[in-house]
């Protein structure tokens, strides 16, 4: 298998201690990886380093062999992120927010047209439906929506981007059990949909060890260090207990 994303020798300093130490991680094309760890173990920092939002103090991140801070816009569009705080734009409707996923592919005029609401909403609607948000909410004022509904908009925005790699920071935190299952199926590409296809390679940070069966590989973070890096079949309860103790 081909390495699509690589973090090597990453160190990120915090105020007093290192937030991340000696992180080495290769993500292979098509892999589904779960990132486990307690709150404050460095999951969000690792994702922000991986997508290039943060600069590491040491080490580098390579996407398809190129330094992530030097790749062109076109390549960057292949990396999608679902942020823990979602980073939706409260002033816009659901559809307009989903369209934001395609901002990279389009120019400023398109961006302005999205603001005025004069774009064809067809594809974004499909993404929202795939993410499980019913059509009645597609033009809603998103400030009034629930946490779970907003989460689905963020997922739809990611689908709209049509990326190859997904980095997701606790994307299930606001969802009820049915929706978690539905979203997991969607991310595993088990839900067949002709037009909307999720990224093939995914790295998802999780709070819930019960969900790991849906993934191929488990990465465990503790105090900013990778302490588990195993295939899901090799994981046992001891590993999990150690991670959360």
């Amino acid at each position: 298998m081909k390495v699509i994303h690589e973090l090597s020798n990453i160190r990120l300093r915090g105020r007093k201690t290192n937030r991340l130490t000696n992180i080495n991680l290769k993500i292979y094309s098509g892999e589904k990886i779960a990132l486990l760890g307690k709150s404050g173990s460095g999951k969000s920092s690792l994702i922000s380093i991986a997508n290039g939002a943060l600069y590491p103090d040491e080490g580098h991140v390579l996407f398809k062999g190129e330094n992530i801070h030097r790749i062109n816009q076109k390549k960057r569009q292949k990396i999608a992120t679902i942020w823990q705080e979602l980073l939706l734009i409260d002033e816009l409707s659901s559809i307009q927010n989903v369209n934001c996923g395609a901002l990279g592919k389009n120019n400023l005029i398109w961006a302005i047209r999205n603001l005025t609401g004069t774009l064809n909403p067809h594809f974004s609607s499909l993404c929202l439906l795939a993410a499980g948000l019913p059509a009645v909410y597609h033009n809603a004022n998103i400030k009034l929506l629930s946490g779970g509904q907003r989460q689905r908009i963020a997922i739809a925005r990611m689908l709209r981007q049509e990326a190859e790699l997904l980095l997701a920071d606790e994307p299930f935190s606001n969802l009820d059990p049915t929706l978690v299952k539905q979203t997991l199926n969607l991310l595993q590409s088990r839900t067949l949909n002709e037009k909307v296809s999720p990224p093939k390679t995914i790295l998802v940070s999780l709070h819930r060890p019960d969900l790991i069966k849906s993934f191929d590989r488990i990465i465990g973070l503790r105090e900013g260090k990778i302490i588990i890096n195993k295939s899901v079949n090799e994981i046992n309860e001891l590993d999990i207990n150690y991670l959360y103790s």
Partner: protein, 514 residues
């Protein structure tokens, strides 16, 4: 109306610049273009003669002293007036209900007249006296401060005060414990902002002949000594920029910290010392503000004269042109900073833009108007552009600060997936700040309406221009009529701007536009 949203409405008004530039182009005359080039080149080569620097230094001190004295008195007076025009305070004191709204109505009159108009009126009454400049700042500023203070107090829910009342506290201890902490951060941030305004006003007063660095600027412009003019502009400019930075730092550090309360207790002492120092320094510079002025008897026009004035003045026309001037200027002022940051969002672009806005903020509008007259004929376009320049600088700074305080997390998130800088700025920064930007713009438009008075003179348009004509021909009937209309116009403008401001700020627009 679906396509109308705050972001689009922050960008579109920039189109107002097009007709204004076309009109400037049409009025273009070559007569002064070589002078204008000299003005621009002199900016980079200000005069450095020792004699000039010394007199500019004296001028700066006069302006700063006048600004400080006027400002300090206006804050104290405004604070007291703010208390007695707040309905919450009257409720605590169990006073009659009518007092607060009545005080508010009365106080809207002094602030409806621009400080320059006050200075020209006071000049007629008191003669050329050091007090004129101070009073001209004090009168409108104290009622502006009073409005802001009472607005802030009235946001306090009266029910929350009952708890304190039940502990048996007397009304004054309620005011001190419950209300003072709410106003102190406002006093620090708004008070600081007013000090900047006061300094700008004192400079403009100088341009109208009331002494200080503004007068130096005006005199060197009249004698076409542009290098000398720029020495004064740079000095006052650097002073204003320094003050902006110090006040900005002060705001960030003390506005929301418990130290603020302690600091406020010390500031009357510090303020008092600087106040006395200013008076002494002004006296050393031959401006004695402690001598009682000789009041001239005011000539009150008869009813017949007033009716004649109403009949003779083209009032409708003048009002209309004042409003058009306000609308176009506001459009330019709202749109240009937003478009600027949208089209040129790179790091260098931002640095260059904020430096341009800084320079624009330090050039007083009457001066811009005079400079524009070198290449274009007097009229609407010159007035609009002159008024725009300084206000663009102020709006540009507001937008920049707003974006800074809201953080760049979204902006960075957009950039992680290859969104172009322009689109990332549009969505990551402009969209979420545009409704508060428009809300501030509504307030700015209100200021612009008042300021039409000062460029009216040089721009040859609107009520301001006619007012200056009538003042200089001592036609008191006309002056009275024009000032009344001006006041009515700005009072309505103030009410309208408050409504529009709340429309954007309190999300009321969503009911209409989505």
């Amino acid at each position: 109306m679906k396509w109308l949203n705050p972001t689009i409405l922050s960008i579109i008004p920039a189109l107002a610049i097009i007709p204004v530039l076309i009109l400037i182009g049409q009025g273009f005359h070559d007569g002064g273009s070589y002078l204008l080039i000299r003005v621009i080149t002199s900016a980079f080569n200000p005069s450095k003669s020792i004699l000039l620097l010394k007199s500019t230094w004296d001028g700066l001190q006069i302006t700063v002293c006048i600004a400080f004295i006027g400002w300090l008195l206006s804050i104290i007076l405004g604070f007291l007036l703010g208390l007695i025009s707040s309905s919450v305070i009257w409720k605590i004191l169990n006073g009659p209900k009518i007092c607060a709204p009545l005080m508010r109505k009365i106080l809207s009159i002094p602030r409806s007249i621009h400080e320059i108009l006050w200075s020209l009126l006071l000049l007629q009454i008191m003669g050329l006296n050091g007090l004129v400049g101070i009073l001209a700042i004090l009168i409108p500023y104290s009622s502006l401060t009073a409005r802001v203070i009472s607005d802030q107090i009235d946001t306090i829910d009266i029910k929350s005060l009952r708890a304190i009342r039940q502990t048996g506290g007397n009304p004054f201890s309620i005011i001190i414990t419950a209300i003072l902490p709410k106003i102190i951060p406002l006093l620090i941030s708004y008070g600081g902002y007013r000090l900047e305004c006061s300094l700008r006003s004192a400079t403009i007063l100088g341009i109208f002949g009331f002494g200080g660095i503004g007068t130096d600027i005006q005199l060197s412009l009249q004698s076409l000594e542009f290098n000398e003019m720029w020495t004064s502009i740079w000095i006052i400019g650097i002073f204003i920029i320094l003050l902006e930075h110090i006040l900005g730092w002060y705001r960030r550090k003390f506005c929301f910290s418990p130290q603020a309360i302690r600091l406020i207790l010390f500031s009357p002492i510090i303020g008092g010392i600087i106040f006395i120092a200013c008076i002494i320094r002004l006296k050393q510079l031959d401006i004695d503000i402690l001598v009682s002025p000789n009041f001239n008897s005011i000539y009150w026009p008869s009813i017949n004269e007033i009716i004649n004035a109403i009949n003779e003045l083209p009032l409708l026309n003048l009002t209309f042109s004042t409003l058009i001037l306000t609308i176009f200027t506001s459009g330019i002022v709202i749109g240009i900073p937003a478009v600027g940051i949208l089209l040129w969002p790179t790091r260098y672009g931002q640095i260059i833009q904020s430096s341009i806005w800084s320079i624009m903020r330090i050039i007083p509008p009457p001066l811009t108007a005079l400079l524009l007259l070198l290449i274009s004929t007097p009229g609407f376009a010159v007035a609009a552009l002159a008024l725009s320049i300084q206000n663009i600088g102020i709006m540009g700074r507001f937008l920049k600060e707003k974006i800074q305080t809201n953080g760049d997390k979204k902006l960075k998130a957009f950039q992680t997936y290859g969104v172009s800088k322009n689109s990332a700025w549009l969505y990551g920064c402009l969209v979420e700040n545009s409704s508060s930007y428009l809300s501030y713009a509504a307030y700015r438009a209100d200021v612009i309406l008042r300021e039409t008075a000062i460029v009216g003179l040089v721009g040859g348009t609107g009520l301001g221009w006619q007012l200056m004509e009538s003042l200089s021909s001592f036609n008191w009937a006309e002056v009275l009529v024009l000032i009344t209309i001006y006041s009515m116009l700005t009072i309505s403008g103030e009410i309208l701007s408050k409504e529009i401001s709340n429309f954007w700020l309190l999300d009321k627009y969503k009911a209409y536009l989505q």
